[in-house]
């Protein structure tokens, strides 16, 4: 049993671009749900628009990446408004249902054949990130030890992504500590009370939705950059749920919760997958079980993560960083 390999794999995933992408998505969700109380089950929709908006400008229209990114984020603003304006006046469950449906409908539209000319349909779009990697000042080669190593370009994506994670965390923290954030947190507690104090709660919810959505869009942009392309299969509904898992793991309504949650999520997911693979390879498992697990290590890992999350909810429902007392005061 080679724990170096397992740990190396786990650490590579926990610090890698995927973790940073999910950290960004979870930071957005944290603003939505942790602070504003908005149940957004369509965060992947924002990620998809950030990614596709960027890719379409570059690959389809031959524009600059530096125009593509703001275009993608602009689409996220539009999506937030389109989702929020009709539903945020209604009871909160209408909003929740709309988000999950809208994100999936959007994905199906993007991969549909009439959209192929623009989005690449089922084939996606490629070769969009050249001008991003042109800025890479790191030398070629691999960085790290053993399985815990990254290529120069991966490391470049990671540096940019983790800087964005820090900036977005700081942005949300500053917002939430301002009087604006006080109104937003008050709405989470009781919208009618806040209305009775003369605040236009729908406007605040909409603003929170837009900001958290744009942060989700940034996650999508990073995803498009690190793959230098986009494909609709990367934006299935489970992406949203993984981001939720990361957020809940780390703890709602905390600054570090979504970030640490995303790191842990990918660390554990990759670690468990790698562990199962090692077990089979070393012949420590009965043949029947090894055959059963073969090729399904990733799926099994996700299942175990789910079980672990349920256990966490039972033992420590506030997540790793959440305050238990706050949870009991929840309305």
């Amino acid at each position: 049993m080679d724990f170096d390999i397992i740990f190396g794999n786990a650490a590579r995933a926990g610090l890698g671009p995927q973790a940073a992408i999910f950290a960004l998505a979870a930071i957005g969700l944290n603003l939505h749900f942790g602070y504003a109380g908005l149940l957004n089950f369509g965060q992947v929709g924002f990620m998809m628009l950030g990614a596709y908006g960027t890719a379409i400008v570059v690959a389809t229209w031959g524009g600059s990446l530096w125009l593509g990114i703001p275009f993608g984020l602009g689409l996220c603003v539009a999506f937030a408004l389109a989702l929020g304006i009709p539903t945020l006046r209604l009871r909160s469950d209408y909003f929740a249902i709309t988000t999950i449906a809208a994100a999936e409908i959007l994905r199906l539209l993007i991969r549909s054949s009439p959209a192929t000319d623009i989005t690449g349909g089922p084939f996606g779009l490629q070769a969009i990130a050249n001008s991003f990697f042109d800025l890479n000042f790191l030398p070629d080669g691999r960085f790290g030890w053993g399985t815990f190593s990254y290529s120069s370009n991966q490391l470049w994506v990671m540096i940019v992504a983790w800087i964005l994670v820090v900036l977005c965390s700081a942005l949300v923290l500053a917002l939430i500590r301002s009087p604006w954030g006080r109104v937003v947190r008050a709405i989470r507690e009781d919208e009618d009370a806040v209305l009775s104090l003369g605040k236009n709660t729908v406007a605040y919810k909409l603003q929170a939705l837009v900001i958290g959505g744009v942060i989700g869009g940034l996650a999508g942009v990073i995803d498009a950059l690190q793959q230098s392309g986009v494909g609709s299969e990367n934006f299935e509904p489970q992406v949203t749920f993984f981001a939720w898992a990361a957020l809940i793991l780390g703890g709602l309504a905390t600054t570090v919760g979504p970030v640490v949650g995303a790191v842990l999520f990918w660390f554990l997911r990759e670690g468990v997958e790698s562990f199962i693979r090692e077990l089979s390879e070393q012949g420590w498992l009965p043949n029947a079980l090894a055959d059963f697990l073969d090729g399904a290590e990733g799926a099994i890992s996700v299942v175990l993560m789910g079980v672990g999350l349920v256990a966490l909810m039972a033992l420590r429902p506030q997540g790793i960083f959440g305050r238990r007392r706050s949870l009991h005061l929840g309305t």
């Binding site: 301002s178 009087p179 006080r182 507690e189 009618d192 236009n200 709660t201």
Partner: protein, 289 residues
């Protein structure tokens, strides 16, 4: 009566002349006319004409289901009437969303206390202050723009908390307060919004006698400072104690209104609300018919 019709444009001269004694106020801050709200078949609120005199304490009494809370919801924009109009200081409020009505100076509390549990007591207060610069998203990050205002606001909040005996809990999460303290906080919070008219829905419900006493004292003080107060109350001792005017509701309608001493002596009120042997009530109804 030309003056009376200018402040009550919805009312015809004939309706004005037919108004029951006491209904027309000298200086009404709130005038309601032809307000109807039905839920399915129930006429939850069906009020032809109601006025609230500026600077007074008005109690609304009536049995459960009389429509008191629904009336509050309608007046403050939390629910829409089937028909009817109402004016605050001459301004028509129909169709305005609740936050706009609150900004015009009519601030309400709720029958079921709505404390912002995971905000501190001080934050509960601060969030109620009106027109804060830092509440605008575009200024939220520009701390220096709102910091001085924030400091003043905290001072004012502290002073109010002091008055309501909650100052020592300013840093605690509101969810940790007792039921009575939450009622006090909700009222203090409403005041933080600088209202001209406060609508309190059962402010003393579930509050222990000692706290009730201090709550009533606050209501009196506030009123002395010129704030008009309308409150729903079931305890007749409280009503007799602090109100200048009593409106009695039953089955969505105004049964009668008047000074407290007059109202408690009213036969209909005794029937509908204060209670009397069932057969006696039946007998009265038979006589009416």
């Amino acid at each position: 009566m030309s003056d009376a019709t200018t402040i009550r444009p919805e009312l015809t001269q004939a309706a004005l002349e037919a108004a029951p004694p006491g209904r027309l106020k000298d200086d009404p801050i709130l005038i309601t006319f032809g307000m109807l709200k039905t839920f399915g078949g129930i006429r939850a609120v069906d009020i032809d004409h109601l006025e609230i005199e500026r600077g007074t304490i008005t109690a609304i009494i009536g049995p459960n289901g009389a429509g008191k809370t629904t009336l509050f919801n309608l007046l403050t924009g939390f629910d829409q009437p089937d028909r009817g109009s109402w004016r605050l200081d001459g301004r028509l409020l129909g169709g305005l969303p609740p936050h706009r009505i609150a900004r015009l100076g009519m601030v309400r509390t709720f029958q079921l206390t709505k404390s912002l549990s995971r905000l501190t007591v001080l934050e509960n207060m601060a969030v109620a202050a009106q027109t804060q610069r830092g509440e605008r998203l575009e200024r939220a990050l520009l701390r220096w723009l709102w910091q001085p205002e924030e400091a003043r606001l905290r001072e004012r909040a502290q002073a109010l908390l002091e008055r309501f005996g909650l100052a020592h809990m300013a840093g605690d999460q509101a969810g940790t307060l007792s039921g009575g303290q939450r009622k006090l906080l909700e009222m203090a919070r409403a005041l933080m919004a600088d209202p001209t008219l406060v609508m309190l829905d059962e402010p003393t419900a579930g509050v222990n006698p000692a706290l009730t006493e201090s709550l009533l004292e606050h209501i009196r003080e506030l009123n002395a400072e010129g704030v008009t107060i309308v409150f729903v109350e079931h305890n007749m001792d409280v009503v007799m104690d602090i109100s200048d005017w009593v409106v009695v509701m039953a089955a969505g309608r105004i049964l009668t209104e008047g000074p407290p001493q007059e109202v408690v002596a009213n036969e209909e009120v005794i029937d509908a609300y204060l209670g009397r042997p069932r057969d006696a009530a039946d007998w009265e109804e038979a006589e009416d018919a």
